[in-house]
């Protein structure tokens, strides 16, 4: 397949389409792409989606000012209520957070996530930023979505160096494909139309499990128009720059 769309737009639309109307959805720091996807979903099919974030602005009317940070005051300034990070965690602990967006540096087929270290935990070769909320949100959110803008064999590995958390993942979205975690294993869910089975395989350090090869939907014209409106400065690709 060929596609003229940018992978980041395919990713953003794919994520937006994972979100259902009325769901409570949280993104953290350094999370522009999911923030834009949430805003897209809310303006398309999910008007009652509840957008939660670190600064605590429930349903910010606009994300257009959140340039360098997805944890800044702008999200609160235009929100409907104040519901800060502490409370979002509590909400997830109560089983009432529907979707959480989380990061990570390494993933393996068994749904292990590493956001902590490469090498020994106490004297690491590489100290990573840390899992932030992952270790408590992945086990408790109803649907944990991981997005990662790198898809290479050092990211999708046979076995992670360190298990920051594991299990209860729902989807992993990369520039090449979407994985789904089911029956304890990562399965290839859809391949982006800009990529191919071969490319995904060449860049994945573990066996690709799938039934049939399916493709991620192309962004629609309506979605692309709305993306221009909700994210005029293309913050969604900040991680890819």
């Amino acid at each position: 397949m060929t596609s003229s769309h940018r992978p980041v737009d395919i990713m953003t639309c794919a994520i937006a389409n994972m979100l259902e109307d009325g769901e409570t959805v949280f993104h953290g720091v350094s999370s522009h792409l999911p923030m834009v996807a949430m805003s897209l979903a809310k303006n398309m099919h999910a008007p009652d989606l509840v957008h939660l974030n670190i600064p605590g602005g429930v349903n910010p009317s606009s994300i257009a000012k959140a340039s360098y940070s997805s944890a800044g005051a702008e999200l609160l300034d235009s929100g409907e209520a104040y519901f800060p990070l502490e409370e979002v965690f509590d909400l997830s602990m109560r089983g009432r957070l529907d979707v959480a967006f989380l990061g990570g540096i390494q993933f393996d087929i068994n749904g292990n996530v590493n956001a902590s270290v490469i090498g020994d935990y106490h004297r690491p070769k590489l100290r990573l930023p840390g899992g932030a909320g992952s270790a408590v949100l992945i086990p408790t959110a109803k649907k944990a979505i991981i997005w990662r803008v790198k898809h290479d064999p050092r990211t999708f590995v046979e076995k992670v160096d360190f298990v920051t958390t594991r299990g209860n993942l729902w989807k992993i979205v990369t520039p090449l494909c979407v994985f789904e975690f089911k029956n304890g294993k990562l399965h290839l869910d859809t391949i982006h139309p800009t990529s191919s089975l071969e490319e995904v395989r060449a860049n994945t350090g573990f066996e690709l499990l799938y039934d049939t090869v399916r493709y991620t939907p192309e962004p629609t014209r309506e979605e692309l128009n709305m993306l221009k409106k909700v994210d005029p400065h293309d913050y969604r690709s900040i991680e890819l720059k």
């Binding site: 997805s70 005051a73 609160l76 997830s92 602990m93 930023p129 992952s134 086990p139 299990g167």
Partner: protein, 277 residues
């Protein structure tokens, strides 16, 4: 009891070896003037506690003021990359990186607020953070017999919180996101407020219900206009990208000492006006 004091004296309240926590989050409303003063005073062996830190932790690690960092996330946001001084310090074994899950830092501070030795945590049920860290423990809930994770309480000796408004008694008000600062002010043994403005007590009282930190919890008030820079301070200023990027390019301790001394007079600039109040 005079609480309004100069930055120098307030930073002197921090002792080597203290467990210290800074308000704000990543690049927002961080008490950077105070952090810089700690660095200039060459404090040693600080144990830093924070859900998500960036420039504060990175700078103090660069200056070898730190022995451990308990945090869920230490990094600048995407655009500004990783906290390289922190990373290197951990990788070289100079700093112990005690990874938390942000929420477990919050729970550890709630433990301090309530003065109990631990806090039960629902979500932390799997992975090596549980296994490698002695501040987590899985026990049996004596009521049900089911397993439950506990996180050990962390009591900061000092919390330093930067706010937009504070009166001379220490009643402090935060505009915009409060992050974990209200909790911090309850968890710590000593609370030091740095503030954009020292406002008259009568004015603060007009919106008494919105005082976030009441005076009797506060030990010191320091007037530090632009005291969060180069981080942002909602309603006052955005990040100082130039300063931040210049810091991020620095490799040696000497360069950073230069950076600190460049900031020195700005960091102390509020003292004169504050004393007039």
């Amino acid at each position: 009891m005079k609480k309004v004091m100069c930055l120098n004296k307030a930073a002197g309240m921090v002792r080597d070896g203290d467990t210290i926590s800074f308000g704000g989050n990543v690049l927002h409303r961080v008490p950077m003037a105070f952090v810089r003063e700690i660095a200039r005073q060459k404090k040693q062996e600080l144990k830093i506690v924070k859900t998500a830190g960036a420039h504060d932790i990175d700078l103090l690690c660069a200056m070898d003021s730190v022995t451990s960092v308990d945090a869920g996330f230490v990094s600048y946001e995407t655009k500004f990359g990783l906290a390289s001084h922190y990373r290197r310090a951990v990788q070289e074994g100079r700093v112990k990186g005690n990874e938390h899950a942000c929420y477990t830092v919050i729970c550890a501070l709630r433990g301090a607020q309530m003065n109990v030795p631990f806090m039960p945590v629902k979500g932390l049920v799997a992975g090596e953070l549980l296994e490698k860290n002695d501040y987590f423990m899985v026990v049996e809930d004596p009521f049900s017999g089911n397993p439950i994770t506990l996180v050990k309480t962390i009591v900061p000796d000092v919390a330093v919180i930067h706010v937009q408004e504070c009166d001379q008694n220490g009643n402090a008000r935060i505009y915009g996101p409060k992050f974990e600062d209200v909790l911090l002010s309850r968890a710590a043994k000593k609370v030091i407020i740095t503030t954009e403005q020292v406002v008259p007590a009568g004015m603060m009282k007009r919106n008494a219900e919105y005082v976030d930190i009441p005076s009797f919890l506060v030990s010191a008030v320091v007037h530090t206009p632009r005291g969060a820079a180069p981080a942002s301070c909602p309603g006052k200023y955005d990040i100082d990208e130039t300063s931040l990027i210049s810091f991020l390019g620095m490799k040696t301790k000497e360069e950073i000492e230069g950076y600190l001394s460049d900031y020195s007079s700005r960091d102390h600039s509020g003292e004169r006006t504050a004393l007039r109040i």
